[in-house]
Structure formats: structure tokens, C-alpha cells
């Protein structure tokens, strides 16, 4: 029991560190570009990583109150990705 609890604590800390590091790496790709498609893709990845971080935070605090937040972030991330892509493809979002 003690080893399993310790293993889960270490796995949770490691997951926090790794997902936060991935958020930073995606932010580097947002900055260096070079194409608009790369920036849109990196922003989409950052949204997905943010969902992972929120889920990890809810798991570490043992609450379920962050579930709605991550669901809304997932929906907003999809809509923002599609509208960015559509703006570049058509020059307009809602025609």
C-alpha cells in the first residue's frame, strides 16, 4: 500500500512537470513559427495540454469541480482552431 501510494505521488509530480514542459515547448513553436499553420497547430496543442494540466490538478486535489472547466476549454479550443484556419483559408470567418 505504501509503495503504491508513493508511486502514484511520484507519477503525478512527474506528469505535472512533463506536461508543463510540453506547454513551454509548444509555446516555443508558437513564437518561432515560421508558417501560420505551425502557429495554429501549436496553439491547438497548448489547448490540449491545458486540458491535461486541469485534469491532473483535479486528480491531485481529489475534487471534480474542474471537470466543467476542462470541457469548456476543449470546446473553445476546437472552435478557435477552426476559426483561425478558416480566416487564413477564406479571409473571413463567417461569410
Amino acid at each position: 500500500m505504501i509503495f503504491a501510494t508513493e508511486l502514484m505521488n511520484y507519477a503525478m509530480i512527474g506528469a505535472f512537470v512533463v506536461v508543463g514542459l510540453c506547454q513551454l515547448m509548444a509555446m516555443v513553436r508558437v513564437v518561432i513559427g515560421p508558417e501560420p499553420g505551425d502557429r495554429i497547430l501549436a496553439l491547438d496543442t497548448m489547448v490540449v495540454n491545458a486540458i491535461g494540466l486541469i485534469v491532473l490538478m483535479g486528480l491531485s486535489q481529489g475534487t471534480r469541480i474542474y471537470f466543467e472547466a476542462s470541457l469548456i476549454i476543449a470546446m473553445l479550443g476546437f472552435v478557435s482552431t477552426v476559426s483561425y484556419a478558416r480566416f487564413i483559408l477564406r479571409g473571413d470567418i463567417i461569410e
Binding site: L7, G14, A15, G37, L41, T45, V48, A85, R86
Partner: protein, 131 residues
């Protein structure tokens, strides 16, 4: 007691797998050297990475909490929308000519992304002539 130990091991395994796939996706996004190649790596983050983290949350709450599976909603939504966003980003790359030209089609056909309606071609011509 053993049931809870097995659940803790399963949660740890899911956390490690999710973190590893997230790291793989971020490294691929940063290291690949072509826009279409870079498009390939972060899809692992959206499916297996976040999927394993959500699975860990489901298992933990099922064994130690009151056992709700609302995380399946997020998982399903991500799985459904990931191909759509990837398709849009690929169309952006083709539109910007950021990738190699796709293979030639039989005569008279055109790739749908490059196939502009006649009215849009007129608009583009007007812009190029006025500018």
C-alpha cells in the same frame, strides 16, 4: 485492500503513459522540419496523451471517489474534433504552399483546396490588379 493497490498501480501506469505521449508529441512539434511532418506529432497528445490522463482520473474517482465517468465526455469530444482540426491545418498548409505540391491529378480535375469558385478568382484578380 488489494483492489485499491491494483487501482493505484493502474492510475500510476496511466499517468506515466499519458505524460510520455505528451512529451513525444511536444518533441515532435519542436524538432520536425516540415510543416506537414509537424502536423503528425501532436495528434498523439490529443488522443493517447490526454486520453490516458483522463483514464487515470476515471479509475481514481471510480475506486476512491463516488465513481462518475464524466471524463468520457471530454475524451469523446477530443477524439471527434482532432481529425477535423488536423484537416483544417493541413488545408492551411496547402493553401499557403508551405508543403510540397500534392501529386498531379488527371486532366480536368483539381485538388479541392486549390479549386476556387469563379467569383473568388474574380475577387483575387481585382485585388492583384488594384494592388
Amino acid at each position: 485492500m488489494t483492489y485499491e493497490i491494483i487501482a493505484l498501480y493502474a492510475v500510476s501506469f496511466c499517468l506515466i503513459v499519458g505524460a510520455a505521449f505528451t512529451l513525444v508529441g511536444a518533441i515532435g512539434l519542436l524538432k520536425f522540419n516540415d510543416p506537414m511532418t509537424r502536423l503528425h506529432a501532436p495528434t498523439k497528445v490529443g488522443t493517447v496523451g490526454v486520453g490516458a490522463l483522463l483514464l487515470a482520473s476515471i479509475i481514481y474517482n471510480g475506486v476512491f471517489g463516488d465513481g462518475a465517468v464524466q471524463e468520457l465526455l471530454i475524451m469523446g469530444f477530443l477524439f471527434v474534433t482532432a481529425p477535423i482540426s488536423a484537416n483544417f491545418i493541413a488545408k492551411v498548409n496547402m493553401h499557403r504552399r508551405a508543403c510540397e505540391t500534392p501529386p498531379d491529378l488527371p486532366a480536368g480535375e483539381e485538388w479541392a483546396t486549390y479549386d476556387l469558385p469563379a467569383s473568388d478568382i474574380d475577387v483575387l484578380d481585382d485585388k492583384s490588379t488594384s494592388a
